[in-house]
């Protein structure tokens, strides 16, 4: 394997959870909600998936339980925010903290360990897939083939989320509620119902990212194992203004930054700097893109004023 194909392979692998989380954020963003709780959703799914698959010795039951747990978390967030009227962002932040602590607590109750389940629980993992024919193509095969099955599901999910948002009735309603809830309410669409549904879907997709980390990328659960991937995903989604395909591409860029960080470890560079690299990259990317967007908006305003002067 060449160095380049190695980095690209790593990029795809490391991007998988970020892509899924970014898609999750994209769904709620289109409904007008910022999903700051992706971190919590992924973490809960990662733990429950490991525990249930270890108990039942069934991969499928483990996965289903993991995804169900993250959907359950979204329903709690929705109830607190939309029924009890607590601020959504505050609810999400509290939920992140509660789940970071809560998962360690549950892990300790079950295994007596506070850091990792490795070696104690015999949990199941998802298989890797070697794609026939493609795997034999030089370079391309090395990059694209041999990933975990969830990575391929993530690619399908990019199309699926795009299809949901832009081709289905539900998607139209999600986008309309996100842009003007009053308009939707005036034709009998309950915005609260749409918010619940989009958050639950978001929980499902984010949960896939969570179980990938603990049942594919690794084969155990470790405390706080998301390490900010949920927030990176949120940034990726925001840069793309909630568009699913753009969000996924940005997530891929963050994955590249992570892969690059891992790669340069070989060159005896300060480990803390390497850990910080993807985040610095995120800040840089957001700054540059925001700068460009603001300039475009300014130009747009100037054009509007010009048009108005001509009209007068």
């Amino acid at each position: 394997m060449s160095t380049l194909s190695n980095i690209l392979f790593m990029t795809i692998r490391l991007s998988t959870p970020i892509v899924l989380a970014a898609l999750a954020c994209s769904i709620t963003k289109k409904a007008g909600l910022l999903n700051m709780g992706a971190e919590a959703l992924m973490l809960m799914a990662a733990l429950i998936g490991v525990l249930v698959s270890a108990w039942t010795q069934s991969l499928i039951i483990g996965l289903v339980a993991g995804l169900a747990s993250s959907i359950l978390i979204t329903l709690i967030i929705c109830y607190v925010s939309f029924d009890l009227k607590c601020d959504l962002n505050l609810t999400n932040i509290s939920m992140n903290n509660a789940v970071i602590g809560g998962t360690v607590f549950i892990m300790y109750l079950v295994t007596g360990q506070k850091s990792v389940t490795a070696g104690i629980l015999n949990s199941k993992t998802m298989p890797t897939v070697n794609i026939p024919i493609i795997k034999d193509i030089p370079f391309i095969g090395e990059v694209i083939s041999g990933h975990n099955v969830m990575t391929y599901i993530a690619i399908v999910m990019i199309v699926a989320v795009w299809f949901l948002l832009y081709k289905t009735v539900l998607g139209l309603r999600i986008r309309c509620v996100g842009e003007n809830p009053m308009a939707a309410e005036s034709v009998g669409i309950s915005s609260k119902k749409i918010w619940y549904i989009s958050y639950a879907l978001s929980g499902l997709v984010a949960g896939m990212g969570g179980v990938f980390l603990s049942m594919g990328y690794l084969s155990w659960f470790a405390r706080d194992m998301m390490g900010g991937r949920g927030f990176m995903a949120m940034a990726a989604m925001n840069i793309a203004n909630g568009e699913p395909v753009g969000s996924a591409v940005n997530a891929l860029l963050f994955g590249l930054a992570q892969a690059f960080g891992t790669f340069i470890q070989r060159f005896n560079i300060n480990a803390d700097l390497i850990l910080a690299f993807p985040y610095m990259f995120a800040v840089l990317l957001i700054s540059v893109l925001t700068f460009i967007r603001q300039r475009q908006e300014k130009q747009h305003r100037l054009n509007m004023i010009k048009a108005r002067e001509q009209k007068v």
Binding site: K167, T168, V169, L170, G171, L172, R173, R175, C176, E179, N180, M182, A183, A184, S186, V187, G188, I189, R308, K311, V312
Partner: protein, 516 residues
């Protein structure tokens, strides 16, 4: 006469604060009829239509649609009964297409997939059938206001609406767009749809409607057949005082000019010229009133003088200095006080105390300081004396303003504005929605301040009693221009005033005389 489709019988609406918006209102609508609902602002037209569309409840009376008594508890009930409403503010999703907006909630589908082709086909068919000239595939973002209004009509038609309510539809349109809309509304009428059209523009009412219902202060003052009446008759029913309240005052003895406004022009956010080359002056010792149907530029004049919005051209000279480029604070320091139409937004900070609200504009004065600390004793006694003088009913000066009644909140505003030492008071609807006693106090103070030469006043009001009794000189605005000037407001005949306000008559420059 054709079939009766709607009957509103004895509708009465009393708001929780005791204000009667509609009193025993009757209205009948026939198939294929265009009914104009006319009246001044605050006459209860919109409230009546909101009741019909299920957005407001009502206390008395009942509604019949196609001969059966119905209960309309929400807009969805109304839509199900075939009633559609085009609001002044459109309920639309800007980044979605016309077809998506029109079919939202009643989407054509194949399984759970949105059938875009069918949606476009249906929308385009409707648009073509009624010649609304809207393209189904356009995005709302790219449409003009007039086209967006057509989208609202399409939304109603797509839901099989038989009764279409339009709330002042021409307010946002150019004359050409208005003509186009009227042709389209007549097409709708031909196909049997009944239309209720809210307006206070009489020439439009005469041009479009079959019948007219006139409201004044929540009551029906006339049900007319359009072809049998003339605009002056409608105007008499619309404008008038139920009780004449009079203020006794001497004639003013105006001295030198305090405020000069020259050739003022202002375009609003929708690029409409709402103030059109306005010039006038105010001299020391007089109250100048601006009358007019709301939305003819009076409010913008007040906001331009106070610096809340900036003029596109023209100049404003206050006490000898141009206010161009000055901050609001600087303009106030030149001698301006402002009683805003929207007291909760511009008048007070609701969560702060009476004391803080009154002191807001004068905290940096030397007299309230000792060294670099505030002199609490001085501040307390200053605020207490104002509370006594203006009879503000409160526990004490630390009470948050939001706990007070509307009238007392306005008293806090006037206590500050009347005691700021300004020599020009801009009073924009100063007594709207507040009790009789407080209104009386504000009106009398405005007159007194002008008589003892403390401060002149520019009064903008849609309360006829107020504008005729408090003002010395009276200007009338229509379509952003001054169309009449009366030297003595108390002597003005209210019906004649109504004809100027509604654009039936207009003075020549000679008749108006010197505005400055």
């Amino acid at each position: 006469m054709s079939k009766e489709v709607l009957r509103m019988d004895g509708i009465t609406k009393i708001y929780s604060n005791g204000f009667t918006a509609n009193h025993d209102v009757n209205l009948v609508l026939h198939e294929g009829e265009i009914l104009a609902l006319v009246g001044e602002n605050g006459a209860g037209k919109t409230t009546l239509m909101k009741i019909l569309f299920g957005m407001e409840s009502h206390q008395g009376g009942h509604i019949e649609v196609n001969g059966t008594t119905v209960k309309i508890n929400s807009p969805l009930d109304a839509i199900a009964l075939g009633i559609g409403m085009v609001h002044q503010h459109f309920m639309q999703v800007p980044s979605a297409t016309v077809a998506e907006n029109v079919t939202l909630g009643i989407e054509p589908r194949q399984g759970s997939v949105y059938d875009k082709k069918e949606a476009i086909k249906r929308t385009q068919e409707l648009s073509d059938r009624y010649q609304l000239m809207v393209k189904a595939t356009d995005r709302i973002n790219d449409l003009s206001v007039a086209q967006r209004q057509k989208v609202e009509i399409l939304k109603a038609l797509a839901r099989n609406c038989r009764i279409l309510i339009l709330d002042e539809p021409t307010a946002v349109l150019t004359p050409q767009e208005t003509e186009e809309l009227f042709v389209q509304l007549k097409n709708l009428k031909e196909s049997g749809i009944s239309i209720i059209f809210i307006s206070h523009k009489l020439h439009e009412v005469m041009q479009l409607s079959d019948n007219i219902v006139v409201l004044r202060a929540g009551k029906v003052t006339g049900t007319l057949v359009t072809k049998d009446v003339n605009p002056a008759q409608i105007s008499r029913l619309m404008v008038g005082r139920d009780v004449v309240m009079s203020i006794e005052k001497d004639d003013p003895k105006p001295e030198d000019t305090i405020l000069q406004v020259r050739n003022l022009v202002y375009y609003n956010d929708e690029n409409v010229k709402v103030v059109d080359n306005v010039s006038f002056g105010i001299r020391k010792g007089e109250v100048v009133g601006i009358a007019g149907v709301e939305g003819n530029g009076q409010n913008e004049i007040a906001e331009l003088i106070t610096g809340l919005v900036k003029a596109d051209s023209g100049e404003i000279i206050l006490n000898g200095k141009s206010t161009a480029g000055l901050e609001i604070r600087d303009i106030r320091d030149l001698g301006l006080a402002y009683i805003s139409e929207d007291r909760m937004r511009y008048g007070v900070a609701a969560n702060l105390s009476i004391r803080e609200n009154i002191m807001a504009d004068r905290l940096d004065r030397k007299e309230f300081r000792t060294g670099f600390l505030y002199n609490s004793k001085k501040i307390n006694s200053h605020v207490d004396s104002l509370i006594r003088e203006f009879e503000i009913a409160c526990d004490d000066q630390t009470q948050p303003v939001r706990m007070l009644s509307g009238g007392n909140i306005q008293k806090v505003v006037v206590a500050r504005e009347f005691s700021s030492g300004a020599n020009l008071i801009v009073a924009n609807q100063p007594t709207r929605g507040i009790d009789v006693g407080t209104s009386e106090l504000i009106r009398k103070t405005l007159v007194r301040k002008s008589r003892n030469k403390e401060a002149s006043t520019l009064l903008v009001s849609s309360d006829l009693n107020e504008i005729l009794e408090v003002s010395d000189r009276l200007l009338v605005m229509k379509n952003g221009q001054i169309v009449a000037q009366f030297a003595k407001a108390q002597a003005v005949d209210e019906f004649e005033l109504g004809e100027y306000m509604l654009g039936i008559k207009r003075m020549t420059a000679e008749e108006m005389g010197d505005l400055l």
